[in-house]
Symmetry: C2
Subunit: 123 residues, 2 copies
Amino acid sequence: MATSCIRVFADAAHIEHSKQRLAAAAPGLEAVAAVLALAGNDVRLKMLYLLLDQQQLCVCDLADVLQMNVSAISQHLRKLKDGGVVQARKVGQTVFYTLTPALRPVIEPLLGSVSISLTPAAV
Amino acid sequence: MATSCIRVFADAAHIEHSKQRLAAAAPGLEAVAAVLALAGNDVRLKMLYLLLDQQQLCVCDLADVLQMNVSAISQHLRKLKDGGVVQARKVGQTVFYTLTPALRPVIEPLLGSVSISLTPAAV
DNA sequence: TTCTTATTTAAGCAAACGCTTAAATAAGAA
DNA sequence: TTCTTATTTAAGCGTTTGCTTAAATAAGAA
């Protein structure tokens, strides 16, 4: 795809530099976008919020607290698990979910903004 | 919706406590989820990445760097603007976009994880 | 074994998403 | 004014999302 604009001050060098930087960062950015997409859902973010201080919760607990269909909760948990955000541990017939330790430092800051509250503009 | 499970160790008090905590945090969580949903898209996260160190970029620049249709870029910018993540400033016929200053401290940590790179599990 | 419970999975469906194309605005240049 | 450029908007369309219902697993209890 050629340049989309005709700008006199196109600053081709600058554009090229940005392209390079972006190309280098792209894989990391895409990985981050994947977990942000998982967290960028009301229900799932609430799950992460609950898991962050409860260590572990079973499907049932989450369904109760979120007042949602067990099946819907299970499907959200599957996505979180597939994304590596959450881990499952089966005890008897109940399955306990935990935040993946490695991702905990990534998730925590996402929820930090909750306490400091967002600016009205973003709400 | 009644409790969805029959658990003996239901720990009703615990569940109730979680519900309370969640109810208190819900508005904040939903606001955060909204911006995470915006950032949780490959193209938009790349835009934010570029805007984070370029101060300002026009639609055209972004289209060039991301090698995408100007219209598609414009539509992404509209979402970011509606979400308060980005601001527009018109100069002549070109529109420059900037990260909303207030949201900058929220966006920056999202991209911080790029440099420290994610664990293989999350990728 | 049969019965009950906890969870997952499959199917269906309406809504949201993200892109493309084409038309509509807006603003400078001739 | 007309022409060109930068951006936005509208319409269309295929894909994805998130829920519901119902069926399928899995595991303990009787």
